[in-house]
Symmetry: C2
Subunit: 503 residues, 2 copies
């Protein structure tokens, strides 16, 4: 007779397997980090192969029958804690989802991504979308197949959206974007009817080392733990985490533009504070992971925009900027500086867009993805459609594909459904920052005094500690009884720009 | 009826599995590199776990029954090329060896190493061997068990020696060390009877950045390919390779001692040139790996000593050293510099020893290991025995364990049998350098002209390209019809020091 395993033993077995998988995934993330920071040129070929092998291994470990059986057995136990129950529930969902993909499909996808990423690089270099077309089309067909494998209601794009943001649907996004579009246009029109301030002083020569040192000071001041992370230089800024005690951010420095480094530093710090604040004891389990991409983005946006582009923050920090760059900014007042870093101007490049017009960039990509996935827009039609939309939404003429539909890496990675989380993140950020201000004494004054700790404490308490315990919507509801409400974001824009542009 | 697989298909299957294993091992090496260069302090705990997981996975992949069957079937085929045959033969040996270790034993060993490494760190910090004793003893007992599992003839130490250097035995080493001991003592006595030159100018203040820049220049000049590798800073210099296109070296800089950085740079470059020169097509297979540890060490020693401490090399390079450090070395002639960097002086620390007395350090460790493995010396007896031997061989009094038996990391890693390869490496280096000079036109003159390329070409042709095709001894025989011959090394010492100390 076999004595059934105790729930505790069974849970530990499950945990051990999940941690093993996390070790492999994190090893892969370290290889990726190294690829973007320190890898010598010729090392790229083998590196790709090494990462593919690790992906294959972690997928195999995750879809092992044995894990499925343990999860099933654990689901039947009634002596799990709430947290344990939630871990099992989420991993069961993930497990059943991964099971839908055969090894062959996973491999095919990974090869298609790799091919398409390289042809994207090449097509950007040559500024010619047609080089990208075929590989992107192959990838798109695989993503449509993925949607079919995953299953969906109403729209195939829902399956892919759900991969990045649980419970996110075309219905929901159509509604949200439709609701916010006209108000955004109205605010923009008001801004454009006013005199536009000067921000040219941001584009002087700012030496690399001084920018780096200043960035490091700001990051530290915001609460990034350098004992549990580091910053390096890479071509595109990013945050990566190998566990909450090793969270790494990167930045890039443009010596001819002060903005490039500073707000990427603050943005990535926002992501990193979240990762450093996730519960260590839940390493490898869902409750040790971030809630969702939109909540992750909300954390970066709170720090980058709500804090990092606020008057309160610069009232305290502008002095050291001026001291560092006295010849460049000695005669620029804090108010002029504040206006410049908040200048609104429709533009071509998403990552350089202001807080308002940013969302037109996202909406355009969202619309295109939806059409591609349903099959009503074809890959070769992207450039023309893209340019029309930029004219329509932003009133700008796209000169070439590099400044148009080739600017973002996401599609080459097969990340259809990712972009909307950027907008959701901004909307959530304004909402959460509003809550934080209401629920924390003198938050603005504290920031003015250079003390952002109360905000960090607030986010730790209400967000970081929970990992994936709640969905984005549930997490918001838990704090203030309501889900996503775009009025917070609109109110935030009206206040800020009404003040800057006086309307 | 099942058609048997073609040899080609079978070989490709074998190759794919070996490459997969190599990917995992190399991923682990990347994590290790990161740990020693950039890891934030708090990241160490999870990093250890992540690397342990990868080791477990690569071990499991290697001992898979399926791989054993493929190897066995391939051994029976008679249409393999010579190289393929050799790969299969070597991997079969490795496979059968690994099979002797149960997963339980591998795990136990890995835990014992980790424990013992940490207590070594602690015991060094507190300068107290007793802190290290128990864990080292546990590890020693496991190593003795390992020897039993592996099997051996004559002496259990042979099993462990063979792990680092194929076909190396106590018999062979006893003979070699006995043969070289008296001649070394004689040369040392002659040196000590002469006036000892001044080398104090090497211990002035040499700023970090200038040392770094100089080191980088020298490394480049020696032929290190920076497109296929990089140099970083770590506490202990080392070389690591993730494939021949990504070979990394590290150095350390002591601002109060010029020697610390310079010869570690050249030493590691020697290792790295070998790794960069291994055949890419054999990635993951024995023929893509270095011949043996002693041959690897011979490559570092050729560059560090035969080249990097030669008059020819500095006749060409001293000028840039003087230009960089004009206030420190402006009045020191190249001849004074050459004498100083070759000063012979019995000392306490192996890694700082000169080319001659270095081997007494190795012999002492070899004798201790032999006694420990046979069980005639016990762990707690090490310090007293160590100090007696240092007095006996080197005539120096060991002031404490930090400058004595705690100085090296190897035992804490369980690396019993590693040290002898350092001496063998030096002996092989002198022998190979002698061959290179005889078989290459004007090698000395070329080095004097700053052209070390002919030497690199020689090593590529006679060593790098072969990987593990031949054993150390066979490789030497192939070049000049003889195996290890210590007279080359003795002749090298006599020439060099006879000239410097005039005897």
């Amino acid at each position: 007779m076999i004595t059934p395993k105790s729930t505790n033993d069974l849970y530990n077995e499950y945990k051990a397997q999940m941690r093993k998988i996390a070790d492999v995934k994190n090893a892969s993330a370290i290889l990726q980090w190294d690829e973007e920071t320190y890898l010598p040129a010729k090392g790229a070929a083998f590196r790709g192969q090494q990462m593919a092998t690790l992906s294959e291994i972690s997928h195999q470990l995750f879809v092992e029958e044995r894990l499925g059986n343990i999860l099933e057995e654990l689901k039947a136990r009634n002596d799990l804690s709430e947290k344990e129950k939630r871990n099992v529930e989420l991993n069961t969902e993930d497990y059943l989802k991964q099971k839908k993909f055969s090894s062959g499909f996973v491999k095919k996808m990974s090869e298609a991504v790799s091919k398409s990423f390289h042809s994207w690089i090449e097509s950007r270099k040559q500024n010619d979308f047609s080089i990208f077309e075929n590989d992107l089309n192959d990838l798109l067909q695989l993503k449509r197949q993925e949607a079919d494998l995953l299953g969906f209601e109403n729209h195939p794009y829902n399956a892919l959206l759900n991969e990045f943001e649980k419970d996110c649907t075309v219905n929901l996004l159509d509604g949200t974007f439709a609701e916010i579009l006209q108000p955004l246009k109205n605010i923009l029109a008001q801004i454009r009817s006013k005199p536009q301030g000067d921000d040219s002083f941001l584009r002087q020569f700012f030496p690399k080392q001084q920018q780096w040192d200043l960035g490091m000071k700001i990051i530290k001041q915001l609460g990034f733990d350098f004992e549990a992370g580091r910053q390096d230089i890479s071509e595109h800024p990013f945050t990566t985490s190998f566990n909450n005690n090793d969270v790494r951010i990167t930045t890039r420095i443009n010596e001819n533009d002060f903005s490039s480094m500073m707000w990427s530093c603050i943005h990535e710090t926002g992501h990193a504070l979240y990762e450093q604040g996730l519960p260590e004891s839940e390493y490898g389990l869902p409750l040790g992971e971030y809630t969702s991409l939109s909540i992750h983005e909300s954390q970066s946006r709170i720090w980058e925009n709500c804090v990092g582009r606020s008057m309160a923050f610069w009232e305290n920090n502008y002095e050291q900027v001026q001291q560092t760059f006295s010849s460049q900014l000695g005669k620029v007042s804090v108010s002029e500086f504040y206006h410049a870093i908040n200048k609104v101007q429709p533009s071509l490049i998403r990552t350089e867009a202001d807080e308002l017009t940013y969302h037109f960039h996202v909406i355009i990509r969202y619309e295109i993805e939806k059409l591609l996935i349903e099959g009503t827009l074809r890959i070769h039609e992207i450039p023309i459609y893209w340019n029309e939309q930029y004219e329509k939404y932003l009133g700008v003429k796209v000169p070439d594909d590099k400044h148009g539909c080739l600017q973002d890496v996401h599609w080459s990675h097969g990340s259809f459904g990712y972009f909307p989380t950027y907008s959701l993140g901004s909307f959530y950020a304004a909402q959460l920052f509003d809550y934080a201000k209401r629920q924390t004494a003198d938050l603005d004054q504290e920031i003015k005094n250079g003390n952002t700790k109360p905000l960090l404490e607030y986010l730790r308490k209400h967000i970081y500690q929970y990992g994936r315990m709640y969905t984005s919507e549930k997490l918001l509801e838990k704090i203030n009884g309501e889900g996503l409400n775009i009025n917070y974001f609109l109110e935030y824009l009206l206040q800020k720009y009404g003040n800057i542009y006086t309307f």
